[in-house]
Each structure stands twice: as C-alpha cells, then as structure tokens.
C-alpha cells in the first residue's frame, strides 16, 4: 500500500484537517483497485486530502473558512463558467520564473482594497489563505482559498463553502511562439494565464453576479494580470479574456447553500468597521 506524501515527500504542515491514514479508510471491496500503483511524478504537487479546512490564527476573518468543506464546480448553484485571462510578459522570463514570482507575491498583485493573507513564503499544496474581497457598497467578503495543486508551471486554488463561487482558479504560464500565427506578428512570448472554472455558490451570489458581478470580476483579474506583468517588467499591454458558459443549468438542489453565504456572514464585520471609521476620535 502506498500513501500520498505531502509536497516534496514531506507531510504538509497542519493547515488543514487531515484524514486518517489511507489504509484505515480502505474498504474491503477496494481490493481490486490498483492501490500499489507507483505514485505519479507530480504526486507532491497535489494537496493531501482534507475533509474540512482549519485555519491557524484566523481570528474572526477565519470563521468563514474554519470547518468549511471545499466546493468544486460540481457543488455550486449557478451557471457554470470558464473564464480565461491572459497576458504576455517579457519573452526573456521563463514560465517557471513567472509562476515562482506569482506564488510568492500572489496578494501583492491584487487591486487595492482587497487583501490576501497567505503564507509568508510561496504558496504550497495544502495551504489555506484568508482573503477580504471588496464587493462594493463598502461591503467586504471575508473568505478563503485552499491550494489544491502547485507545481513549477501552474498552481490551482479551490474555494470553500460560503465563497462567492464554487470552483477553482488555475494560474499557469507557458512559452508561446507566434512564428506561424497569421493573426499575430511573428514573435515569441511568455504567457501568464488565470483560468476560472466556477459556478456561483448560491442564489444570492448568482443574482449579484448577474447584476454586475461578472463585470467586476473581469476588472479584478484584468487589473491583477496587469500588475503581474508590470512587476515582471512588461510594457503596458493588453489583457486578453475569453468567457464560455459551460453549463446554463442552475442546480436548484444547491440553493440551500445560501445559509453558508460568507458575504451575509461578513456583514456584521463590514458594518462594525464602517461605524468604527466614522466614529469621531475622543480627545
């Protein structure tokens, strides 16, 4: 029996509640499965399995993440979208360098007013990061993300229950050669890309997305990609985007997720913060 090691063969640090050792969870009926297959070459790039997220020193901000389950696009409520944003950076920068810098400075590329509290070093599989996202009208959404996958050329974040959307975002970089592309001038480039595969998590978020949320999200990622490219020394350039609706069906069976909505749960903090800012200081 083989067990899944953490990144680089080391059990990941305890940011998330681990399952019992794999051997204890295997049912008798699993005997035919190829359990003894050698681990794939990227085994250490995947996070170890977790049932529920745990947060170290998250304070009140972590309350929307601690104890929550992860949610993929299968678990969401709204229409399923695939949104891709990409930008050219200097051809002299390798894809690996782009990803290394992106992982290390991830939150620094976010637009002003949004906060990402991740690990002090680089993002690694199994990490849980907290975030505050400005959703307009002075309301902040306190939520988090889980690092599902990270290798030298890509990394993927997955969202917990209560997050705006159920799904994952994959950040990647690759070399592109436009030598034979009739639609582009011949040149080589390194492309940085963010791709979301997501459904809004509940009917409230779905409504918010249709009332300008998609546009706001586009702006968020365009500004993020621009900041990344600028950091990497690119001249001002265009962020390209493509949005595809993968599934128009809403999953009404998941409408009850609204009870976990982190935006609603973040309201008291937003209101308290707003009053705190307006209260005159006592002399």
């Amino acid at each position: 029996m083989t067990e899944h090691p953490g990144p680089d063969g080391i059990p990941p640090a305890g940011q998330a509640e681990r399952d019992p050792p794999a051997g204890r969870r295997m049912a008798a009926g699993d005997a035919d499965a190829p359990l003894t297959a050698p681990l794939p070459r990227n085994a250490g790039s995947w996070a170890a399995k977790v049932d529920r997220l745990t947060v170290a020193d998250g304070g009140s901000r972590g309350s929307n993440v601690a104890g929550r389950r992860l949610t993929g696009p299968v678990q969401g409520f709204g229409k399923m979208w695939k949104k891709t944003y990409w930008i050219e950076v200097s051809p002299n920068i390798s894809a690996r360098t782009v990803i290394a810098e992106w992982k290390e400075h991830f939150g620094e590329f976010w637009p002003e007013g949004n906060r990402f509290k991740g690990p002090l070093t680089s993002l690694s599989p199994g990490d849980v990061a907290l975030l505050d996202v400005s959703v307009g009208g002075g309301v902040r959404l306190s939520t988090g993300v889980f690092v599902l996958y990270a290798d030298d050329e890509s990394f993927t974040l997955m969202t917990p229950q209560g997050h705006m959307f159920a799904g994952w975002i994959t950040f990647s970089a690759e070399r592109a050669d436009y030598a034979d592309d009739p639609d582009a001038s011949p040149h080589a480039a390194t492309i940085a890309q963010a791709q979301l595969l997501m459904r809004s998590n509940d009917p409230l978020y779905e409504l918010a997305m249709s009332l300008g949320g998609h546009r706001k999200e586009d702006q968020f990622w365009i500004r993020t990609m621009t900041a990344l490219a600028t950091y990497l020394g690119a001249l001002p350039t265009t962020v390209h985007s493509r949005t595809v609706c993968i599934d128009r069906k809403r999953q009404w069976g998941n409408a009850r997720h609204v009870w976990q909505n982190s935006m609603v749960r973040s309201m008291p903090h937003s209101i308290a913060a707003a009053f705190g800012r307006r209260r005159p200081s006592r002399k």
């Binding site: 029996m1 083989t2 899944h4 794999a22 295997m26 009926g29 699993d30 005997a31 035919d32 499965a33 190829p34 359990l35 297959a37 681990l39 794939p40 070459r41 990227n42 085994a43 790039s45 995947w46 996070a47 170890a48 399995k49 977790v50 389950r69 992860l70 949610t71 993929g72 696009p73 299968v74 678990q75 399923m80 695939k82 599902l148 996958y149 290798d151 890509s154 993927t156 997955m158 994952w168 994959t170 990647s172 791709q195 595969l197 993968i246 599934d247």
Partner: protein, 123 residues
Amino acid sequence: MDESATRMDIRKADGLTAVIDIRGDVTAASEAILMSAYEDATRQGARRLVLNFSGLEYMNSGGIGMLVTLLVRANRQNQPLAAFGLSHHYREIFELTRLDEAITIYDNEQSALAGTARQGGSS
C-alpha cells in the same frame, strides 16, 4: 503538454455502454482528444460512459477541470458517467475535488458496467 502524451481508445462494452481507455497524461491539453472520444462514443450509440484510468500516468488540475466539462456534456445527454482503475492517489484527488460525488468510482470494470447499468441512461 503535448497532446501525443495522451491516448484514448473507445470500446463498446455492451450495446449501450462505451468504455474509454485513457492512457498517458491527462491535462487541459488532452481536452480535444477526450471530447473527440466522447463524441465518437455518443455517435456510436453509447448511452452510458465508463472511463478506464488503469493506464493513467499523470493528471494535473487542468485534467480535473476537463473531466468536469465532460461531466456537464454527459449530464446534458442523460448519460451516466463512471470511472474505474484509479490508483489510490487519484482516488483521493477525486475525493478532494469532490468529483467523486458526480462521477461514481468503481473498483473494476465489471462493477462499473453493472453500476452504470443500474443508473440507467437515456435509451
């Protein structure tokens, strides 16, 4: 990732079920091959689909995303989707990403065929 690192072969297991044998790497770059295999299977009359991962060597998060897209297409056609042959490692990835809640995982081909037959599928 080179598409040639992936190979997908279709075989009819019975009149209504197609097995897609997946070999090599499954990444976002494999999307065209997988979707083509799916379309061929559907064109040949498959009402139920079983993915055989026994030959899977490597899958990244892009590959998982591609399986979600396949799942949506199969759901649209009321085609149950199942899988077998996953190593312990990839079983855990299916559980972690909660893909196992939509793609039923079986221990072997026989149980996958029996399971999908019980699930039905449009005829």
